[in-house]
Structure formats: structure tokens, C-alpha cells
């Protein structure tokens, strides 16, 4: 029997001709990422391991993104610990405030991930890089520290679920809507421990940014990784970024899948995930009565320049409703600068938005837009758990950037066609 793309990448990283689901392997890691929340505990663990040096500093990536610019003394101490570790270990892929960004947008932007790579990161949304045809998965800090020491990580080869998308994408429907619709169908544990392979005619036409959004949220269905077959759009995206060539792999025609889920997107309208699980999905038109207090546009899910352009298209010449605080966060310094040059900041400022420096900030209730008790937000982020963006009695609705922008204008959840 043939192999899926996930199985091929894992096999190539453990020196095996082939692997099959359920098999335990010790896999070589091409990149091992940590950030200002997860790297500090990993550094402590690394010190306990007792090795003076990491196995290969060039495969480490350390990113300041969660509580930056530092919100308090404790977060500043964590950032300092990571900064000093990077210097002591000779980690060149260390990204400082002002030259950094949300890690899962920053790493692709800097050309650090290549197709066919095996990437681990101490952040659950590490699955994002599957958009480039890499196997990438989130781990904890101890796993990360052990991988720093050895260059390897043990894992169980996951079975793969094949998601086949068909039909033409309707207007105002994007990658965010496809992945929310998918999670709504299979549930937040529908792909627990499994690989999610996204394919079908619709996927071929998706932008690379739509694919990043979809792979990013594989974890919200419990997935170990989400992956697309890399194609010309990946080549175009990576061109000029100075990265490695990588391996453009594809699943074999006779590869084994645990199951197949088919989604016809033809009649889809923008999808919104209601509190407090990403699986609580509804078409946007069913939620038009929901009044909101805040809108956040950004994050590793939807903080790309394409997402900001989409928001600007809806917001141009309009104003956020008086009751709404509109917070827009370009995901990286590069995107921030490009958005500024394009004049998007003028559109946002005229709409009454607060434009922030890159940070994960409000997505995880860190800072830069925390919700009070009883407040309601529409957010382009990835999680709407209880208390995710602030008080346990606040509520988060997840949506695409166009719906978020239209909702900011309306003061309630709104379809962008009506904005």
C-alpha cells in the first residue's frame, strides 16, 4: 500500500522506507520553535538535562510574540530568559520585538519552513506550516527541550483523514469558513491524534493564505497536523524568501486513509463559531441579532496582509459602531510595514480602529484587548473557549476578517455583503 504525504515525511525523518499509522518512531526535527511563554520552561528543563549545548542551534527558532511588548515584570523576565538563552546557545533565528511577529506567520514569512520539513513547536498552532506541505505539530516545553538536546522527537504515526472540498467558493467565503465548517461537522475531537489532509478541486484554487488559516486550525479538531499537497502556489510564496528548496511530496493514489469527509462549498455562506467551542458553528445570517462590544482582526489564523486587505475592503469609508472597540493587529513587522505603505492604516484609523504592533495579545487573553464580564467579541482568532479573551463570563465568536469588519461597523454580527 502507498503512503500519505504525512507518512512520507515522517518516514523520511526516521530513516525508514515506509511507516504506517500506529507505529512509534524517533524522528529528526528540521526546526524546533519556542516562544516567550513556552521557551522559558523548556530552558529550565534543558538545564536539568545537563547538556551544555543544544544539538544544532541553527534548527532552533525563538520568537517573542505572546506577551510582547512585555506587559509586566513577570513577562519581561520570561523574555529576558529566552533572550539570554538564545545568545548563550548561538541561536541566530531569534526574533526580537520590532523585528518579530506572531510565530506561525513569521516563520513562513522568513522562509524558514520548506515543503517536506518536519517541524515541532511548543505552541499548539504549529500545525500551520502544513499549508507549505510540511509535517508540523505542537508539543509541550519538555518535549521541546528534549528535542533541543537530541535533535529528535518520539511520536506515533497518525492515521490520516482525507478532507475533500468541491465546488466554487462563494463570495465572502474564505479558508476560515471552510475550516470552521469542517470543525462544525466533525467536532473538536473529530480528528484527535490524526492527520488532516486537505484536498479536492476547491483547495487547488485557494490562496496560500487561506491554506495557512485552515492548517492553523487543525488543532481545533484535535488534529496532530493539517497538511496540503505543496504546489506552484507554495513555490510562488517561497520564492525570494531565501529558504531551503525542500521536497514537494504528494500522497500516493493507493495511500490508506482512515476515512474521507466531503464538503461541497458551493452553497456555503460565511461561518461563525459561537461560544464556547470552535465546533459550535452557524451560518452568519442566523446570528445577525448578536450585539458585540469588541472586534479583533489579526492572529496566527488571520493576521496576514491578505486578511488586512479584506478587512480594509469592508471598512473603507465606514466607521466602527460607537459601541464597538475595533482592534487590528498585523501579524508581523513585515506585514505591519506593508499595510502601512498600502494605506490600510488610514482606512483603519478613519474607521476608528486601534492598530497594534504585532502580538498574540488579546487572542489568548494576554493583553491589548481583554474582555470584561458580559462582553462579547467577534474575533478572527482560533479559540472561543470560556475565558479565552478575558473574563470567564465574556464571549467570543470566531469569524473571517470580512465578517469581523462588517460586524464592527454594524455593532452586531453582520454579513459583509450588507456592510
Amino acid at each position: 500500500m502507498g503512503m500519505t504525504i504525512t507518512e512520507k515525511i515522517i518516514a523520511a525523518h526516521c530513516g525508514a522506507q515506509s511507516v504506517c499509522p500506529g507505529q512509534y518512531v524517533l524522528a529528526e526535527c528540521d526546526l524546533m520553535m519556542g516562544h516567550d511563554v513556552t521557551a522559558p520552561p523548556a530552558i529550565k528543563v534543558f538545564e536539568q538535562i545537563g547538556r551544555p549545548r543544544v544539538s544544532d542551534p541553527d534548527r532552533l527558532v525563538l520568537v517573542n510574540d505572546h506577551f510582547v511588548p512585555n506587559r509586566d515584570v513577570a513577562s519581561a523576565e520570561q523574555a529576558k530568559a529566552m533572550r539570554e538563552f538564545a545568545a548563550a546557545q548561538g541561536v541566530k533565528k531569534y526574533f526580537e520585538v520590532g523585528r518579530s511577529g506572531v510565530c506561525h506567520v513569521l516563520l513562513p514569512e522568513k522562509g524558514l519552513v520548506a515543503p517536506g520539513d518536519l517541524v515541532i513547536g511548543a505552541d499548539s498552532h504549529t500545525c500551520t506550516y502544513g499549508a507549505l506541505g510540511a509535517f508540523s505539530t505542537g508539543v509541550g516545553s519538555t518535549d521541546l527541550a528534549a528535542a533541543w538536546a537530541t535533535g529528535k522527537m518520539w511520536m506515533k504515526v497518525p492515521p490520516t483523514i482525507r478532507f475533500e472540498y468541491s465546488g466554487k467558493m462563494p463570495e465572502w467565503v474564505y479558508g476560515k469558513d471552510l475550516i470552521l465548517e469542517t470543525i462544525g461537522r466533525i467536532g473538536v475531537e473529530g480528528a484527535r491524534y490524526k492527520a488532516m489532509e486537505f484536498c479536492g478541486e476547491t483547495v487547488k484554487d485557494l490562496t496560500i493564505y487561506d491554506r495557512f488559516t485552515m492548517a492553523n486550525m487543525a488543532i481545533e479538531a484535535g488534529g496532530k497536523n493539517g497538511i496540503f499537497e505543496p504546489d506552484e502556489k507554495v513555490r510562488e510564496f517561497l520564492a525570494g524568501r531565501g529558504g531551503r528548496e525542500g521536497a514537494y511530496l504528494a500522497s500516493d493514489p493507493d495511500a490508506g486513509y482512515e476515512s474521507t469527509v466531503r464538503v461541497d462549498v458551493s452553497d456555503l455562506q460565511p461561518v461563525v463559531a459561537c461560544p464556547s467551542l470552535p465546533e459550535n458553528t452557524k451560518p452568519v445570517s442566523e446570528l445577525s441579532g448578536v450585539e458585540i462590544d469588541q472586534v479583533v482582526i489579526g492572529s496566527c489564523t488571520n493576521g496576514w496582509l491578505d486578511d488586512l486587505r479584506l478587512a480594509a475592503r469592508v471598512l473603507k469609508g465606514k466607521k466602527a459602531a460607537p459601541r464597538v472597540r475595533l482592534i487590528i493587529i498585523p501579524a508581523t513587522q513585515g506585514i505591519w510595514k506593508a499595510a502601512m505603505k498600502e494605506g490600510l492604516f488610514d482606512i483603519f484609523a478613519d474607521a476608528g480602529a486601534a492598530v497594534s504592533t504585532p502580538t498574540c495579545g488579546p487572542c489568548l487573553g494576554g493583553h491589548m484587548g481583554i474582555l470584561a464580564a458580559g462582553e462579547v467579541a467577534v474575533s478572527t482568532t482560533n479559540r472561543n473557549f470560556v475565558g479565552r479573551m478575558g473574563h470567564p463570563q465574556s464571549q467570543v465568536y470566531l469569524a473571517n476578517p470580512a465578517v469581523a469588519a462588517a460586524s464592527a461597523i454594524a455593532g452586531r454580527i453582520a454579513h459583509p455583503a450588507n456592510a
Partner: protein, 182 residues
């Protein structure tokens, strides 16, 4: 139930899960899809000190969990316990609070790895989420792979860890395993 504060000393490192020792304690029952934001809200992720994190353990499900529990108590949940972020602070907070183990119908994969890696015993036990009520007295018997609900007289079987995990567990966690491998 006694209201006693118990917080594990911050200086303690990860300890081995003794694969054959019985565990006994009282249950605190949660539902399906208990996420890591509930286990330890992100705003507290500015430390990895078990004692500090323990103060906010399960805060997303309501305040004061740490004040209600006794050392050795057991967290019981339904499907997909620990879903969401990769924060190792979640099992650290639970272990730091003095919880002896977590029993659930199923675990999210990153949480499961993290728990094993830091030496918090976790057992996947089919039907446990609906078979236990708050305060029930539970006993886990690793040799016979059974969980007994001593209050209700019910019994649950569970699957053992695969050999590969047992190797890490008997080494005392991932750090010790890496040290051993050299």
C-alpha cells in the same frame, strides 16, 4: 470535605509514575472538552513555578478549586480532556495542586504527552466521565488495570500504556529518559 490548601513545593522536580502503586482519592468531576484555558488561564503563564500555577488551577471552571481540594484528590472528566493549547503549565498546575492523577474518557494529545513528560499520572478510562460523581472515593489498581468507584461499587477497566511510554514512565519522565539514552 476538608478545605485545606496544599501546594507542591516549587523545588520538586518531576517524579516517576510508579507503574504498579495503587492510587486512592476523592473525585472532582468535570465534563467533556475541558480546555487548557480552563485548566490554567493564559494570563497566568508568566511563570512555570508549580506552586504559583497551582493557585489558579481549574480557575476557568470557577474560582477557588485549590481551596476546595485535598492532597491526593483525583480529577475525572469526559472526552478530550486538555484540548487547546500546548501549555505544559496545565499539567504542572494540576500536579502542583496536589492532584494525584487525572482519569478521563479521552485526552487531547498534547496534554497527554505533557502529563507523561512531567510525571502527572493520567489514565484513559472508558465511561469514567459519566460513572463518577463529585466526592466519590476512587481507587486505581494498575496491576489489574482497574478503577474502582468505592462509593458506588462500580468498576472500570482501562488499557495499559504501550511499552514505549512505559519506558519513559519508568525512567521517571522524559528528561530522565533522555539522560539515560545519553
Amino acid at each position: 470535605m476538608t478545605r485545606r490548601r496544599f501546594v507542591q513545593s516549587a523545588s520538586k522536580g518531576s517524579t516517576a509514575m510508579n507503574a504498579s502503586a495503587a492510587i486512592k482519592g476523592n473525585a472532582w468531576v468535570f465534563g467533556d472538552h475541558v480546555d487548557t484555558d480552563v485548566i490554567i488561564p493564559a494570563t497566568y503563564l508568566v511563570t512555570s513555578d508549580p506552586a504559583q500555577l497551582a493557585l489558579h488551577c481549574m480557575e476557568g471552571a470557577g474560582p477557588g478549586f485549590i481551596d476546595k481540594i485535598s492532597p491526593g484528590d483525583i480529577i475525572v472528566a469526559g472526552e478530550n480532556f486538555g484540548c487547546g493549547s500546548s501549555r505544559e503549565h496545565a499539567p504542572i498546575a494540576i500536579k502542583g495542586a496536589g492532584i494525584s492523577c487525572v482519569l478521563a474518557d479521552s485526552f487531547a494529545r498534547i496534554f497527554f504527552r505533557n502529563a507523561v513528560n512531567i510525571g502527572l499520572p493520567v489514565f484513559e478510562v472508558a465511561g469514567i466521565g459519566k460513572g463518577v460523581a463529585d466526592g466519590d472515593s476512587l481507587e486505581i489498581l494498575p496491576d489489574s488495570r482497574k478503577v474502582r468507584n468505592l462509593t458506588k461499587g462500580a468498576e472500570f477497566d482501562y488499557e495499559p500504556y504501550p511499552d514505549f511510554l512505559n519506558e519513559i514512565i519508568s525512567a521517571g519522565g522524559l528528561i530522565q529518559w533522555v539522560r539515560k539514552k545519553g
